[in-house]
Amino acid sequence: MAEKLFRAALREALDEEMTRDDKVYLVGEDIGLFGGAYRVTEGLQQKYGELRVVDAPIAEEVIVGSAIGAAMSGLRPVVEMMTINFSLLAYDQIVQNAAKIRYMFGGEVAVPMVVRLPGGAGHQLSSQHSHSFEVLYGFIPGLLVVAPTTPEDAKGLLKSAIRTDNPVMFLESMSLYNLKGEVPKGDYTTPIGKAALRRQGSDLTIVGVSRQAVLAAAAAAKLEDEDVDSEVIDLRSIRPIDWDALTKSVKKTGRCLVVEEGWPTYGVSAEIAAGLQERCFDYLDAPIARLGGAEVPMPYNRELERAAIPSADDIVAHALRVIGRN
């Protein structure tokens, strides 16, 4: 095992998969010559050439539409949206075509496409460039949606995403690109559809979505000082949801807090809370709580932006409320 940056782990996955399978190609804005807005694809065009690392025009619908067509014809495209915010321009292609073609063609044609979606807030990018759109994709049957939070999972999940025959929305929290962590040597995959138990505890379960899983682990350490033993689950797979892991944990602890950076109304946390009360009603010792981003367009002002994103301290405060303190 070696320590690697989250972005380097992603690059390693792309590099290894492109070597393994010459049907894999990359397409996106500024990913070739420039090496990608977040340097994930740096050096890959030199290595694999302009046909396999394609610098696309600034036309998201075209990028995704062409990738869907290529995928239907037998290639395995990995699209980089410069940010998830721009993916709204390709939303029609993703929802109407990528998610449905395999179904509508009776399974005869598949869409083995990955769309990498850097997103999240915290960089003073203001209202239009700070979205957490997990729910927009998690909502659509026919898509697989994952959000890794460690370098190990980033590499393993990206490899799984490239190898599956179904379209995968691959959510990358921009705040995690510089996160360092152990990455196993060699070829390995992380299964889509499995949550990760990050910490065992007995008093309550904190389910974190994307970067909030990292903050949940930090909050759990602070909660320990308050004599609260929390269990942390990194949701990791937004669609499908790993109900087995969530149910097992909540049946054990009897209490649950779900945290996401996106808006909680109709959010991922709403879905998790509803599904858990259906599955664990007789095991609940407190209402399932949700914590999400403030329901406003993201403010530009640094302090206001901080106030609008759940912090580890916010998670601690909510957790204490769930167990009946404060």
């Binding site: 007995s202 008093d203 004599d227 609260v228 033993d229 009897g254 009603f281 007789d282 095991y283 609940l284 010792d285 407190a286 409320r321 167990i323 009946g324 303190r325």
Partner: protein
């Protein structure tokens, strides 16, 4: 005025003891309220009021009186149904209870035998709409542990009753140490400075079990016979019935055994007998008890006329009896009149064990788990499902050969389970 008499709680009960009055002398009681705990020769039961009115206690707790004696009366209510607020006062201010610190633990009456001066009843925690607020988990645990949520004060947000409140209430009801406070993880246990052992009072049920088991093992001459039965057919029939017969979805091995034992008991009247006062009592009915573990204790609910019921009836009735027993709601009818019992520890992975007879019964069948084993048939080795059963017998009532024949009949029925599926002879 209604009289409250010492009830007859079992076939053999001649007198009963008022263990504890649950209502104060002179207090208003309502039909269905639990008035007192009464102990018979077999078990303790709750005595419910059968009329509304004011309770006048005649027999103090701890006293024993013959069945039928008046132990209390319920008279006319002294006052009309009390108005919601005190008459003549202005707008009701906060009640003292509402001013008390929210986290204060309720002062529940300590239940001890012989005490007469009981404090007032436990507080009732209710939301503004009169509904008791409790988490789903607390409700489930309360049902399982037989805790009345109306008697529990909630420590959660807005007075919600949470898991730890129920556990603490169950512990208090069992006269044991208070539960640790909720949420906080137990601090590392301090090195004990006091005596080496801690003395814990048994619950009434535990005391009763201790007395009766000692009595049985010291006065009933036990002997034991163990036999193994093949279970492949029985498991297959059980699974088929579960899949195909309405009402049999939860059929258990124990249900099959109840049926097999009931049929065998009909065939062996000497097994369906007791030794009472130096004579045999031959039972005309076949009532089979099933031992059920519950929190801090054990009860043996009895399925009556088990020979006249089919497997579906046995399964449904058995499950209802077990649920009532687990919830501490078994009635006197549920727990008396057995001639023979079954105790199944198979689900715990036990191979075999020996049970103590529950007098005046004369036999108890201890059941081990169904396991795959290597068996030899006509020199051929194969793998089969087997189960071991040990019959404990009162040697005064019948002897080794009868016990062996009886067991062989149970095995024959279990290994030919179609005979268990046939409708009972009416």
């Amino acid at each position: 005025m209604a009289k409250v008499n010492m009830p007859k709680l079992s076939d053999t009960m001649e007198e009963g003891t008022v263990l504890e009055w649950k209502k104060e002398n002179g207090s208003e009681v309502h039909r269905g309220d639990v008035l007192a705990d009464i102990e018979s020769d077999k078990a303790a039961f709750e005595l419910e009021a059968e009329a509304d009115g004011v309770l006048q206690i005649v027999i103090q707790q701890g006293e024993a009186v013959p069945v039928g004696d008046v132990i209390a009366t319920i008279g006319e209510s002294a006052t009309a149904p009390s108005p919601p607020g005190r008459a003549g006062e202005g707008p009701a201010g906060p009640t003292p209870a509402a001013e008390a610190p929210a986290k204060e633990l309720p002062e529940l009456p300590k239940r001890r035998r012989g005490e007469t001066d009981e404090p007032a009843g436990a507080p009732r925690t209710a939301a503004g709409d009169g509904r008791t607020k409790a988490s789903p988990l607390a409700r489930r645990l309360a049902a399982q542990m037989g805790v009345n949520l109306d008697q529990v004060k909630g420590s959660g947000p807005d007075g919600r009753i949470v898991k730890e409140d129920v556990i603490a209430a169950a512990d208090r009801a069992g006269d044991s140490a208070p539960a640790p406070s909720r949420a906080a993880r137990p601090a590392p246990p301090p090195r004990p400075t006091g005596p080496e052992v801690e003395v814990e009072e048994p619950t009434r049920m535990q005391a009763l079990i201790a007395r009766r088991m000692t009595e049985s093992k010291t006065t009933v001459p036990h002997f034991y016979v163990t036999i193994e039965t093949r279970m492949d057919e029985a498991m297959s029939v059980r699974d088929q019935l579960r899949r195909t017969v309405a009402g049999a979805e939860k059929l258990t091995v124990t249900d099959l055994l109840v049926r097999a034992c009931a049929l065998a008991l009909v065939k062996f009247p000497e097994v369906n007998s007791s030794w009472v006062d130096g004579r045999f009592e031959r039972k005309r009915r076949v009532n089979v008890g099933v031992a059920v573990a519950r929190e801090k204790g054990l009860v043996v609910p009895v399925i009556r006329d088990a020979d006249r019921k089919d497997l579906v009836q046995l399964s449904i009735e058995g499950r209802q009896l077990v649920e009532r027993a687990r919830a501490g709601k078994a009635t006197q009818e549920d727990l008396s009149g057995g001639s023979f019992s079954i105790s199944n520890l198979g689900m715990y992975g036990v191979d075999e064990f020996q049970a103590i007879i529950n007098p005046p019964e004369s036999g108890i069948l201890a059941i081990g788990g169904v396991k795959d084993a290597v068996v030899v048939d006509d020199g051929e080795i194969s793998v089969a499902k087997v189960m071991r059963m040990t019959l404990s017998v009162d040697h005064r009532v019948y002897y080794g050969a009868t016990a062996a024949e009886f067991l062989a009949e149970v095995v024959r029925l279990m290994e030919n389970p179609v005979s268990l599926v046939l409708p009972p002879e009416s």
